[in-house]
Subunit: 254 residues, 2 copies
DNA sequence: CGCAAAGTTGAGCGTCCTCAAGCAGCGTGG
DNA sequence: CCACGCTGCTTGAGGACGCTCAACTTTGCG
């Protein structure tokens, strides 16, 4: 199906969903980055609350931002008013790369709950990079990771059914938590169904139905009355569910 | 609709589809970049033919690549064999950013026809950037543009109907040609319907039907027998078509 | 010339969207 | 304190857009 070159699966790269590998590596990388910034660059710390924006589309670019804590979304705006959640961002992620080329930010970066961002003047950062090449490496890796993640989003969006996309979304969030040493057996979705749906390219009703189906299949559970908290007994089972939905019938064949 | 904050249209950033503005700027920027590379970095030139890959997923990262001529696609591979065209690339675009963070490329970069790529060792580039800060600026802008474009793809994918997506795809391609001073009233699609469909998140049949409908509406025409060449009498009309399909009925209301 | 690959078109169907109703949580004010 | 309204969430019924399957045509190449 699709434009498969038949050997695709055989030579596929290391899975982006590597189950538990590299948890500590990520946490350490983030700690190292934050330390590096603290030591060599002038930082402006800022506490944000849910709904606060770090920057907005059209604003003149001058700073990059690093998340020290909290959860953020980036929203792309089209000239005609369409808006699209294009990214979710956690501790250690950078915000604002989209502004470098255009000289102004291309999207809104909004806090999903209370958190702290470190803002760094781009020119000061470049100057610091000149003195500490390690810092430049960190910066480039962050941009590279951003590109990779955006493409993974495209892949999920185009190849997965609505239910699988929701499962993949939960898996992605839980993985991000696990990698950062945060609680990941139970996550609190800080987005409304409408926001999740927007991010995943579906309506809020479809999100709701998908969550209901996933909980019927015991892949997730809602411990509280308010269904914002999602319990994930087994993250790998979510990945398996995604795989299963790719091969509707022929799983055991061959 | 969606999660519109009602003022979205009012404060939307400058349109990503700025009609004809900045054509020469882009061509000049590209010429400047190529000159800069030529002057200060060791370059390996390579001629590629349709189907040749510049790099493949999983390959060890060590080089970045700049397109001197030709057309390229990047294909993302999932561990399970799903594959997805995640980007189209033209003269002046960079290839390989996705490899920086992981140490290995995360996708395939494949030539869509004959072209020339310049390959540059990443470490040598960084060394050159240290001597010529201007080069670093160019590099960052290219990465930033890549991020912006991926997000624009996400936006189109999530908010547009199949027909509008095809129209937007043609508009995007024509714009890219125009910006580079290439012929843009008639473009030659160097991809099969299946590839276009994969890129746009739809089947090849839907692509075919969309093209038929667009030609019925006189927005495009097929000058040759083989329907690979697409004539676009008025690029702006394609943009208008996309807008129209967003507001099914209420265009003149309010 | 003949075969394989690419493309077009049609019919039927399924997934997801639309529209609608009802419920739950929560802050406000009478 | 509870009615009230608001926002967010769930669930159902019906319909549409796009997918699947299939037949046929066209193009390109050995």
């Amino acid at each position: 199906m699709m434009t498969a070159t038949s050997t695709a699966a055989a030579r596929a790269r290391t899975p982006s969903a590597q189950p538990a590998a590299g948890r500590h590596e990520v946490a350490e990388r983030i700690a190292g980055t934050l330390q590096l910034l603290q030591d060599h660059v002038a930082i402006t710390r800022r506490i944000v609350r849910a709904g606060d924006s770090v920057y907005e589309a059209g604003e003149r670019f001058g700073m990059l931002h690093v998340i020290n804590s909290g959860f953020f979304k980036t929203i792309n705006l089209a000239a005609d008013g369409r808006e699209q959640v294009v990214g979710l961002h956690f501790k250690g992620d950078w915000l604002g790369f989209d502004g470098i080329a255009a000289g102004q930010y291309g999207c809104d970066a909004v806090a999903l709950d209370t958190g702290e961002v470190w803002s760094i003047r781009y020119d000061a950062l470049l100057a610091a990079c000149a003195r500490h090449p390690q810092l430049l490496g960190v910066l480039h890796q962050a941009m590279s990771r951003e590109i990779t993640r955006d493409r993974d989003s495209l892949l999920s969006l185009c190849t997965l059914s609505a239910d699988a996309r929701v499962a993949d979304f939960l898996r992605y969030w839980a993985d991000a938590m696990a990698q950062r040493g945060l609680r990941h057996d139970q996550i609190t979705l800080r987005m409304t169904r409408a926001e999740i749906g927007n991010y995943l390219g579906m309506t809020l009703e479809t999100v709701s139905r998908a969550l209901t189906r996933l909980s019927r299949e015991q892949l997730i559970a809602f411990p509280e009355r308010g269904r914002r908290d999602v319990q994930i007994p087994d993250v790998q089972a979510l990945g398996a569910y995604v795989q299963r939905s790719l091969a509707p019938a022929s799983t055991t064949l061959q």
